[in-house]
Amino acid sequence: MNMTGSSITLRLSVLSLFFVLAIAGARPVQAAGSETDFRAAYAAAEAANTEAGRLRNQWTVTAEALAAAKKAADKGDFDHAIAVAKEAEALAKASIFQATSEQEAWKNLEIR
């Protein structure tokens, strides 16, 4: 197989063009995905916090994280909004774990 210099150049150009087009084409899809991802992350966090509320054990920091996520999303900063929404979900899940484990664990502190 013997390739000439112009043939290699052509192939590289085609490959470069492909990558440029791929990146350019992927950008709008990625942005739309971010908002969708935010909505999903926020809904998951809200659901976990609602469950914590049912257990009468919500945390103030969860509410603060939810508010911060919404604020970031309103500004169009979906990367940050998703990160904070995920943090809110983690906090809400921790409060659920606390409420569940304390159903028995409180007895360990009791003065007897």
Partner: protein, 287 residues
Amino acid sequence: MKARLAIHLASAALALAAVAFAAMPAIAADTPDPVADAKAFRNYFVTKFPDVKLEDFVNGPYSMNEDMRRQWEEKEQFPPYEFSLEMGKEMFARPFKNGRSYADCFPNQGIGIRQNYPYFDPGKGKVVTLELALNQCREANGEPSFSYVADEMAALTAYMAFTSRGKPFDIKIPDDPRALEAYQNGKRYFYTRRGQLNFSCATCHVQNPGERMRAEILAPALGILNAMPIYRSEWGGMGTISRRLTTCNSQIRGVPLEPQADEYRDLEYYLSYVSNGLPISGPGARP
């Protein structure tokens, strides 16, 4: 054959007895015993602080720290809750629009009765606190209820507490399973960890009274409600029991429940019961 059957039956009976015996302590531990609880509660604090007189626990951090106590005694010459007390006295005496008054809603015209609150109302099947009873009185007489965390409620309870000063807490748990359940719920709330800081009420007021939490000296749980309502320098004003409980929750990064939620009423029932015999000292003043 008969011998084998007898051996099997005997083994089964023995196993059953063993299981029943093993289960007994667990059942006993879960059965509420308010009298034993109150005794253990008091013994814990008396043993932990052998130099503090029993009736002095109602003075909270001042019973734990000599310097603070001296400052407080001087402050009591012109107590910061005096304005609230005067306001409460005046409010209490002022008739409602229908001509009736608070005195008509309470035993002994509302004078010297603070030590009997909260009580369990068998009709409603719930605990009734003094703050709740005051708002029920207002509503029954066509008046709007007060916020449980505002100055008006603090003033009214300050006056009623003042008329009970020196009278020992006398909280009753009637022979009613719902009353015992309310007591147990209050106890569970007191010891349950909550908030991002993972604190229970007991973390501060059982495990660490007398210790500093930032600038504050933590009060012992024994007698902690006897001084309520309180003027807090930190708040720059008066605070009801509702205000104190909701603020405690916020401080540990937990979302407070609504004032006078069942949990808070049951907690007040438990904490007051285990302080039975200690004198009412409210209204109080705290840093």
